[in-house]
């Protein structure tokens, strides 16, 4: 590239830059607005007209609720007309305009269409607690066909229905929304609600009023017999669990039954309520016992203590030791009517030797338990045999095995 060409390019660029600068010079020409209104309705076309003396036609910049846009005018008989596009003229709210590169500006307001076509309604939370303190909230936006929110002061009615009672609250749109608090009732149930404005209504909404915290309750008990056979089931039922307003608690509420045994052990069983009643099941103990049972809804409600006594199924049993076969046979184990005790009673065998103690546990079958003594684990020698079943312990001392 020669130096000449370089100069030429620089000169051209310099001249061009003048051209660009000239655009920034303010118009000195006059633009007179013709028939400008300060308020329009959302469904009408808007056209801004200016009488002009200048030769140039500046663009019109419009700022509306959702943003800004540029409109180019067309000239008709010394006037310039700007057609405001529909996406601006349909949206309610304040609109400001100015002619680009001039000092001319102004504003107008677009009113929403007064014809309500939709009721946008929100409700939450969908469930509340029956205590006259908890509440939910409903919010409504009456809308015209362009999705414009109605003007402040538009009347909105909220209709409520619970069981047989209906009520209505009349409110107005304020700051674009109409809202109401829905306070819970003292009774559980569903509150149906809807809102309406003008001729339009929302769809049906539902707020569920659920029971509050349960209060103390009582316990009842049931069993087939009062013997400690380790087989039958004892059941404990709560009275109907209710909250402080006498509502039945929701189904599925968990109740834990704690059973304190005579030895101080805490047994437990759990149950969930159906129609307010929870029924816990517990297997009978295997030995003489006195149970004290309490039902608890954790940290909220508790029952009275119920006492349950269990008598032993038998007073004694036989132990037979077979040295050749190395077996210890316990039984027959007979229950309270002299029947064979149901299978599965736990029998424990404690073999106390000189050096070590061996412990075995087995379940009865046909009223009998046979312990087979493994030669490798229990070497030949003298042992004290201690058998525990049904809470009764029998000992055979110094048995050669």
């Amino acid at each position: 590239m020669t130096i000449k060409t370089t100069y030429f390019i620089i000169a051209t660029l310099w001249i061009l830059s003048f051209n660009g600068m000239r655009d920034h010079v303010k118009h000195t020409a006059n633009y007179t607005p013709i028939d400008h209104q300060l308020e329009y309705a959302a469904n009408r076309p808007i056209r801004l007209t200016f009488k002009k003396t200048a030769s140039t036609t500046p663009s019109l910049r419009i700022s509306y609720s959702l943003g800004s846009t540029i409109v180019h005018g067309h000239i008709k008989d010394k006037t310039v007309i700007y057609e405001v596009p529909k996406f601006v003229s349909n949206i309610a709210g304040h609109v400001t305009w100015n002619l680009v590169n001039t000092t001319y500006n102004g504003s107008f307001y677009i009113k929403p269409d007064s014809q309500i076509t939709d009721m946008e309604t929100y409700v939450g939370p969908p469930s509340i607690i029956a205590n006259a303190k908890d509440y939910s909230m409903v919010v409504t936006l009456p809308l015209d066909k362009y999705d414009n929110v109605q003007e402040d002061g538009t009347r909105v009615s909220f209709n409520y229905h619970k069981e047989t009672e209906s009520s209505q609250t009349n409110l107005q749109v304020e700051h674009l929304i109409a809202y109401d608090y829905v306070y819970s009732t003292k009774k559980t149930g569903n509150i149906l609600l809807a809102s309406s404005s003008g001729s339009k209504s929302s769809k049906e909404f539902l707020i569920e009023v659920r029971a509050g915290l349960p209060v103390d309750f009582t316990l009842s008990r049931k069993r087939t017999h009062n013997y400690a056979d380790g087989n039958q089931l004892a059941s404990f039922s709560t009275s109907i669990l209710r909250d402080s307003y006498d509502n039945v608690v929701n189904d599925g509420t968990l109740v834990t039954f704690y059973i304190t045994t005579s030895s101080g052990a805490i047994l437990q069983t759990t149950a969930t309520t159906i129609n307010g009643v929870a029924t816990g099941l517990m297997i009978h103990p295997e030995k003489q016992e006195t149970w004290s049972i309490v039902g608890i809804v954790a940290g909220m409600a508790a029952s009275n203590a119920v006492i349950m006594e269990f008598d032993p199924v038998f007073k004694d049993f036989n132990i037979a030791v077979n040295k050749e076969k190395r077996t210890v046979t316990v039984g027959p184990l007979l229950s309270f009517m002299k029947q064979i005790i149901p299978d599965g009673l736990t029998v424990e065998l404690n073999l106390k030797g000189k050096t070590a103690t061996h412990f075995f546990q087995k379940q009865s079958l046909n009223g009998q338990v046979v312990f087979q003594l493994n030669q490798d684990l229990i070497p030949h020698g003298i042992y004290n045999i201690e058998v525990t079943a049904g809470g009764i312990t029998r000992t055979l001392e110094n048995i050669l095995l």
């Binding site: 052990a265 047994l267 437990q268 759990t270 954790a298 940290g299 508790a302 493994n374």
Partner: protein, 1031 residues
């Protein structure tokens, strides 16, 4: 010299048989190989986004520039014609043709005999190493790479020998195709194939100066080397440029993302004598029949002309022995040894041997060997030997081919369509998913769906630290990877929101208890039997996902060059190819066929060596089979029968297990099967036998007493069990005495139970729009009753109690975060096993949040050898935690709400707690869990622990439990400040005040159990259970 050539009928036969044999077999084998579906997945990537190397589907995104693209792009191109699988099989067919012709050309180069080369091609069709690589491993790029490399060898020879530029270009074009299909092949091919080839060219050049190879001395050799030096260097440098240039983005990617992963154990690095299965797969099968004629191969390759091939094959053979000898480790160095899979060396050694196998076959059937054997040992012997060799050869082929049938490496074929449909429906693909127990079929699923997974099947591309720091290939099969695998999986399951993981497709019920106790719930069983699990409270993926971008030129290079190399290679070689194939023009004899010396006569010494070698092999095989027999004869010794029994139990072959039980014990098969059918639980249904040690305590002629110590891996914890068994000998066979069974009988035959069920409509209106406002349920309110930060043996935990204070069942997610004194975040984790994830209204659960670090993140940490799924790596704290934060989230739950678990018959003696779990309801408690809370003398919670019961509890029945309570553990309480506890994003205190503000102070939360001493005077027991089959 010009020669009118005839078509090589052996080659034609090889091609016809090869295509017919492999072409039909691939339809039954290829899809269940290890690699084929992975290549299919990559192909799908190119088919949908050819120029974009970033793939979002695996490992939260990875780049496909981590593997040479040619084969994948070819499949992708063909997939436009007939779908992905069409592409896969077509490319496999091309690979077969390339391999057979490649072997032929390579053999022709080495043996300089069209007959021998023809035999080599024919034998290559059935060679066990090729069959294994194609039909068992499915390594298509590797096969294509080595095949094209073999095609390039004659061209390289001709360039070096003649200096004609056309050969320079053809050889480079073929090298380019090799490198774009498989990167490792040309690099090692350079060393092990091309270097010896260069040596051979120099030898031939030197030979031309003198009248026989004997006269080639070092001086002459060196002279020839200098003469050829320019061409060698020219070729070497050009091929280096080709190797680097053609897949430049690959090298850039490798440099930018070096493989910093913990090496994954590979069978090819095992000691083959110790791990015989690896020895079989990575040594015996690839070598196959070649082992028998190994002396011949070495003898030939160590002749002067092939000297360098001799050295090369020696190195390959030794490297291929893996960890059997220490040599490979020393030669390659610790690092390379642990990254490379060494089976490829054996593959190359076997391929290098094929020409000589062909030559041997030719000489054995038509040449001097036949004459020698027939002359020395008789025609009968020759025929017999031939039959034995052929028989062995065929046996090896069939054996290799059917390996996948007898020992399936993959789970049964899964119908993917229901899963694909599930992911496409209802915006399920807005979350990531994970498959469990799919094997390599997960790649096929990934290819079919647009949904993203956290897992992946190309381990070099793993990016998440949870994966790269552990030697696991994928989460999918983590149960086979012991602690590393299950530990890694547990981290993903515990904190799934980290990766937006919401759905799990489980094809292996082994993982189910872990999913449950990590807080997942079953959604539905798809029609193909796959169980879908989901996790609540996981946010969907963001619309824009992060990617590691590469410059545009790399993308264009990557998309264009590989296919271009094929086109160029095709254009350059087409003329030669056509002349060779159609023989329309009399062609000059190639240089490597011109100066043929007669074979060195096959000496008796070599024959003897082969015989001795074969005898040795025979003895080793017999010995191997004998030891195999001794170890595997199930009822030969008491130990064997115990081993066989446990093996059968482990694989759920109960009828087989029954055969090992004493037939005179009176236990009927029906009775036994019935007993098995009612036994369930962690140990019998979810455990994998890890180790078994049998000790004979006492043995007489017909009786033995044994102590059996078994170790089981379960998804939740490791179980050790010691059992004493009696074995009885009858009719020379040992049997096991069956164990006593539980006899407990529930009182009622028919049992009725009322329960409340909950049903969530989900999307009420069938619409693809975002879920309607009114369809969304209120999040159940929870209350964190108490929480504290505690320290136990330098580990930090948040413990506490949470209650569902709402009226609907809640799924509970607890996220704990620790901060130091300056409020700098130290660690964040979710509660894992120690919380009841599902709470009924008003139910309480104790919880403990442990802070797991990413295990072995510090590479200096030693990875424990023993397996313990319960073990975890605590976070390494820089500062002492001082402040904690809990974010609790409740969501409406409607599954896993069973509460019919009672604790009865409880007693505590010297810290040993004994009791019974009684199942008071109608569902079977498959894996019961006890959560134990420890309290101080003020009845304040100080520690929470848990225990799993090994056996299931059937409805209306009881099961004993016993475990040791903690007696004198020192727990330091660091903070009891609960001001940073939040529920559903709201402050815990104010939310609780609103709902439970009127709790009466007198009402108890529970009744605590007194202990008999120790640091903790009170405990609380809570029950939870995984129900395997909810009814």
């Amino acid at each position: 010299m010009k020669l009118k050539q005839k078509t090589n009928k052996l080659l034609i036969a090889a091609l016809v048989i090869g295509i017919a044999f492999h072409g039909s077999a691939i339809f039954f084998t290829l899809e269940s190989t290890y690699d084929a579906l992975i290549h299919l997945f990559f192909a799908e990537h190119y088919a949908t986004s050819w120029f974009e190397p970033w793939n979002y589907k695996w490992y939260t995104g990875f780049t496909v520039m981590s593997y040479p693209p040619l084969v994948h792009q070819c499949i992708a191109l063909l997939s436009y014609v007939g779908g992905l699988k069409f592409g896969l099989f077509t490319v496999a067919l091309i690979a077969i043709i390339l391999f057979i012709t490649g072997v032929y050309r390579f053999s022709l180069l080495i043996t300089a005999s069209r007959k021998a080369a023809g035999y080599a091609a024919l034998l290559a069709v059935f060679s066990s190493s090729f069959v294994e690589t194609l039909h068992v491993f499915g390594q298509l790029p590797s096969i294509i790479g080595i095949s094209v490399l073999m095609h390039s060898l004659p061209e390289i020879y001709l360039w070096l020998k003649t200096g004609a530029y056309r050969y320079y270009f053809t050889s480079l074009s073929l090298i380019a195709v090799t490198v774009t299909s498989h990167h490792v092949t040309p690099i090692f091919g350079m060393i092990f194939f091309i270097f010896p080839l260069i040596g051979m060219v120099i030898m031939d050049h030197a030979r031309a100066q003198v009248s026989s190879f004997k006269e080639v001395r070092f001086g002459i050799f060196f002279n020839s080397f200098l003469k050829l030096f320019k061409r060698i260097v020219g070729f070497g440098f050009s091929s280096l440029v080709i190797i680097v240039g053609c897949i430049l983005p690959y090298w850039i990617n490798t440099k930018n993302n070096p493989i910093t992963q913990v090496p994954i154990p590979h069978g090819s690095r095992d000691n083959f004598l110790e791990v015989t299965s690896s020895g079989l797969v990575f040594f015996l099968i690839p070598w196959g029949i070649l082992l028998v004629i190994l002396p011949y191969i070495f003898f030939r390759y160590y002749s002067k002309r092939f000297l360098f091939f001799g050295i090369s094959i020696t190195i390959l053979t030794v490297l291929g022995t893996g960890g059997t000898t220490p040599i490979p480790k020393i030669v390659l160095g610790e690092n390379a040894f642990n990254i490379l899979t060494l089976d490829r060396f054996t593959l190359w050694a076997s391929i290098m041997s094929i020409p000589l196998l062909g030559e041997f076959a030719y000489r054995f059937m038509h040449g001097d060997i036949r004459e020698l054997i027939q002359g020395k040992l008789g025609a009968m012997y020759h025929r017999l030997t031939g039959a034995v060799l052929a028989g062995l050869f065929v046996f090896m082929t069939i054996f290799t081919m059917t390996l996948g049938y007898f020992r399936p490496s993959q789970p049964a074929t899964i119908k993917m369509l229901p899963i694909v449909n599930f992911l496409n429906q209802d915006q399920h693909d807005h979350w990531r998913y994970l498959t469990l127990g799919f094997g390599d079929q997960m790649a096929w699923l990934a290819a079919q769906t647009s949904a993203l997974s956290v897992d992946g099947n190309y381990h070099s591309a793993r990016r998440l630290p949870e994966l790269t720091t552990r030697p696991i290939e994928r989460l999918e099969n983590s149960k086979f990877k012991g602690v590393e695998g299950i530990g890694s999986l547990q981290q993903f399951l515990t904190v799934p929101e980290k990766y937006n993981l919401k759905y799990i497709f489980s094809n292996d019920k082994f993982y189910d208890p872990m999913l449950y106790f990590c807080g997942w719930q079953r959604l539905e069983q798809l029609e193909n039997g796959i169980m879908v699990w989901e996790k609540m409270n996981v946010p969907p993926l963001s619309n824009i996902l992060p990617l590691v971008d590469v410059p545009q030129w790399q993308k264009i290079l990557w998309g264009i060059i590989p296919v271009l190399t094929v086109i160029i290679a095709f254009l350059l070689n087409i003329q030669l190819l056509l002349t060779r194939m159609l023989k329309y023009k009399i062609r000059k004899m190639p240089a490597y066929l011109r100066n043929i010396d007669a074979y060195t006569p096959f000496k008796s010494k070599l024959l003897h060596t082969i015989h001795i070698w074969a005898l040795l092999l025979f003895i080793v095989t017999c010995y191997g089979m004998y030891t195999f027999y001794l170890k595997n004869t199930t009822q030969r010794t008491p130990e064997n029968v115990v081993l066989a029994y446990y093996d059968a139990i482990d694989f759920k072959e109960f009828e087989k297990a029954y055969l090992y039980l004493n037939p005179k014990s009176g236990l009927e098969l029906n009775q036994y099967m019935l007993q098995i059918s009612v036994t369930d639980g962690l140990l019998s249904s979810y455990a994998k036998l890890d180790n078994i040690e049998t000790t004979v305590l006492k043995q007489t002629q017909n009786t033995a007493r044994l102590r059996v110590e078994t170790k089981w891996i379960t998804p939740l914890e490791k179980i050790q069990k010691t059992e004493y068994l009696i074995a009885i000998k009858q009719d020379d066979k040992w049997f096991i005495e069956p164990e006593a069974i539980e006899t407990d009988l529930p009182p009622n035959q028919l049992f009725t139970e009322n329960k409340t069920v909950f049903y969530n409509q989900g999307r009420r209106r069938i619409s693809t729009e975002q879920t309607y406002h009114e369809d969304i349920l209120k999040q159940p309110s929870l209350e964190i009753l108490n929480a504290r930060l505690v320290e136990n043996k330098n580990h930090y935990f948040i413990i506490g109690e949470v209650q569902n204070i709402d009226n609907v069942p809640a799924d509970v997610v607890l996220k704990g975060t620790l901060y130091d004194e300056n409020n700098v975040q130290l660690a964040s984790y979710n509660s894992k096993f120690v919380v009841k994830h599902k709470l009924m209204p008003k139910e309480i659960s104790s919880f403990k949040i442990s802070f797991e670090g990413i295990a072995w993140n510090n590479t200096n940490d030693s990875i424990p050898k023993s397996f313990n799924p319960d073990e975890y790596t605590p976070v390494n704290f820089k500062n002492k935690p001082a402040v904690f934060n809990i974010q609790a989230a409740g969501n409406v739950a409607n599954t896993d709400l069973y509460k019919g678990i009672a604790i009865s018959n409880l007693s505590i003696n010297k810290g040993l707690i004994k009791g019974q779990l009684f199942n008071s309801g109608t569902q079977e408690l498959t894996v019961p869990q006890l959560i134990i809370s420890y309290y101080d003398s003020n009845k304040k919670l100080v520690w929470v622990d848990y225990n799993f019961l090994q056996e299931a509890v059937r409805p209306q029945r009881k099961k004993n439990f016993e475990f040791q309570l903690l007696m004198d553990t020192q727990i330091n309480i660091l903070s009891t400040n609960m001001s940073n506890c939040f529920v559903n994003g709201l402050p815990n205190e104010s939310l609780a005040e609103k709902i439970t503000g009127n709790r009466s102070a007198n009402t108890a939360f529970n009744i605590l159990q007194k202990t008999d001493g120790g640091t903790f005077p009170f405990i609380k027991l809570e029950t939870n259970a995984y129900i395997g089959i909810p009814k």
